[in-house]
Symmetry: C2
Amino acid sequence: MAPLADLYQLTAAYGQWRAGRAALPAAAELFFRRGPFGGAPALAAGLAQGLRCLRAFRFSAADVAYLRSVLPSTTEDAFFDYLATLDASEVTVSAVPEGSVVFARVPFLQVKGPLLVVQLLETTLLCLVNYASLVATNAARFRLLAGPDVKLMEIGLRRAQGPDGALSASKYSYIGGFDYTSNILAGKLYGIPVRGTVAHSFIMSFSSLEEVQPRTPPQKANRGELAAFVSYAITFPRDFQGLLDTYCVRRSGLPNFCAVALALQQLGYRAIGVRLDSGDLAQQSKEIRQVLRACGAHFQVPWFETIPIAVSNDISEQSLEEFQREGSEIDMIGVGTNLVTCPLQPSLGCVYKLVEVNGSPCLKLTEDEEKMTIPGTKTIYRLYDAAGHPFMDLMALEEEPSPSAGQELVVHVLGQFGETSKVVPTTVETLHRTYFRDGQVCEPLPSLPEVRSHAQVSLSLLSPAHRQLHQPQPYPVAVTEKLHHLLTKLRQARQ
Amino acid sequence: MAPLADLYQLTAAYGQWRAGRAALPAAAELFFRRGPFGGAPALAAGLAQGLRCLRAFRFSAADVAYLRSVLPSTTEDAFFDYLATLDASEVTVSAVPEGSVVFARVPFLQVKGPLLVVQLLETTLLCLVNYASLVATNAARFRLLAGPDVKLMEIGLRRAQGPDGALSASKYSYIGGFDYTSNILAGKLYGIPVRGTVAHSFIMSFSSLEEVQPRTPPQKANRGELAAFVSYAITFPRDFQGLLDTYCVRRSGLPNFCAVALALQQLGYRAIGVRLDSGDLAQQSKEIRQVLRACGAHFQVPWFETIPIAVSNDISEQSLEEFQREGSEIDMIGVGTNLVTCPLQPSLGCVYKLVEVNGSPCLKLTEDEEKMTIPGTKTIYRLYDAAGHPFMDLMALEEEPSPSAGQELVVHVLGQFGETSKVVPTTVETLHRTYFRDGQVCEPLPSLPEVRSHAQVSLSLLSPAHRQLHQPQPYPVAVTEKLHHLLTKLRQARQ
């Protein structure tokens, strides 16, 4: 994993090493500059994977040999010997607990250690945190839209960036609030609940009732479809579900399903659901519910009317809004492309910036105001109001005393420089914990279901104005007077 | 790799096995329904990876044990024993050569073999082909926009779906026409040329000239930046490049760069480039070129005026169009997020559909006309006109004789059912080759550079109307009269 870096990090590393600066104490922070989805909060994720990577951080002999072939030929041999000795044992990482709500510009991961290693970790950590946080956040949005009762299933394996991208999608969708994944490998590796429906290919593979073992008498509607349903019901009597739209939902899929489900009922089994994968899903779900109700009443099978209806087919946030608007009868939603590729926000845009080297705070002050960094090693506090909602994140220099609950604080809200604000938090939370020290993970890492619960709790604490999906109220992020003073001083010195 | 599948494929597999249908001969096809980017052609990619996966296709004891835990408890033991014996030795795969231009609805990969295995491969193959083809296509678009001379570098490692997604991005961007990647691991694993520039973190890590070894006299402009440049130049005298925008390009970055580059020149070295990562890139590139020209003239250093200017910062297709419109002086472009996450077309939407089982053609005839499949196992021909441009892809049933060059063909263009068209191809190409048979790859696979060249050739054959990036002329895809007849017959039978 060591060479999971951009080449310029290695040339920079050589530069630092040659300047005798490799071991200087340094600190870097990971954050995103703008809230995703038009300024919303995000869920921090990917932390555990990042820590595993740190523990294994080493350049193998093969890595070193490869680097020797791509770095300039003037690179000294001793540098490669040095690389072969590197590890992350002198690195300390603090972060918010995985699954926490985080806001733009607030660092949610901090790395301290020798300058050279701290720099080398940039891309590795970004690569592991960026997408993980994005997809967890995206999943949480689908969960908020779907409400607590509808089941959400991640089905993006075939649309992800290869097997590993798909595994990340499954894992972090689950963290963000999905219930299931269709990805068997994700189930096997991470213990995420897997679920399946019925595949079109299964239905299409039957063309006549002659193909069912044992044979059944012919009927109306599509016979291949009926054959497939019968065959499926015989195979999975306790788990029969119908995929209704291979031919025509109304004229074929639904009557075939009802026939087979009623037959199963006579044998003492209950069908577990139907699935739609095309057409107007909300409208069809209502029609299907009507038919199921009528069928249940007519044949005196009361459970028929609550047979779960599952849908898929390019489901987006907009689809969920439509389902709600139209009062759909949908019980389970499979989301693929729009979950794993996240077209509304293709990347979270996390960055990793040096904030201190050898005791001196660093500042990046570019043409883009937004790309400016906040210098110095910091402690991050989340301030809560009397209703228990967080109302501000506050960055303070590490050496400053912790703010106290119930006491007035004078702060500078980012984006409102010059002005000060006074706030009185009812509760003050220190956001970060130290997770990695002396080459080891030093804080117990929660299980995936624990992270998933934490994410829901973290989201539920937000005030409605900050939680809303469209045009959420901007969440204030502030710095202390002391940090503001440092920032002003450095800006003036650099101009 | 075997369980890289959605759960419903395993339940379908059990259904087929229990119905005694597991070994029925079957055929499936992989294609996309709509051309990406508003109807454009795509580059087929991911084939070699798919073939490697086929060769290794097996369920391990651990896979089987896991599946036992998630399939319904009524699943027979004998099925799990059967799964443990499965491999892809009876599967035959044909496909277009990797890197070929492909069009909507034309299968670019065909799988034949026992029904159960053919179905099980669906998600695995889609997962490996979908993103690979998408990012190769996306890269090819950037290449078309940039023209042949500008260097394109993939820098998406930190924005991809984890390490593996990033590796795919690097590999398939290269195939699509990129020159370099910044991803060291991709360089090491695939031999793709890696390049780097200078990192902001390197520049920011210096705060004063005191930090340079050996010491240099102080100057105007930002001193930390100058220190970083000097240090970099000392470290890489033959590879010095300046990252100009950590503080201010005009007042600091550029003067510092010129000073250091001129000093290096006196020692007999040439700086290799500058880089911008913020602001108006096209405008700045012109200003920088002016300064470099003036500087070169003043100090009689002629090579100064051609120092390559590299840019990055959320580069999109639109950025490239702007660069061209403004007559920029940019020589190298780094593309990250918009290359690897492809927001204009987040997924290629490839599907994998059964077309024949046990000698009978399959048809999926749903509420969405677009989701209808073309039944039967087919041979695919590409027809070329006298100018050497492909003008039509033609699907024929496998048993039909091959069309001949120079002879009139009667075809049905998809989307114009009912009408027939007559065409006379100057050349007829059989698009697919057999790549996998008897458990082995049976056709030599080209190297990445060979695939990359093939992609460029394949694109260059397109007529300008089909190649254009915006609103390309729809490319006609047709079926033979015989296939059209089969399709009509099946549609009528199913309605």
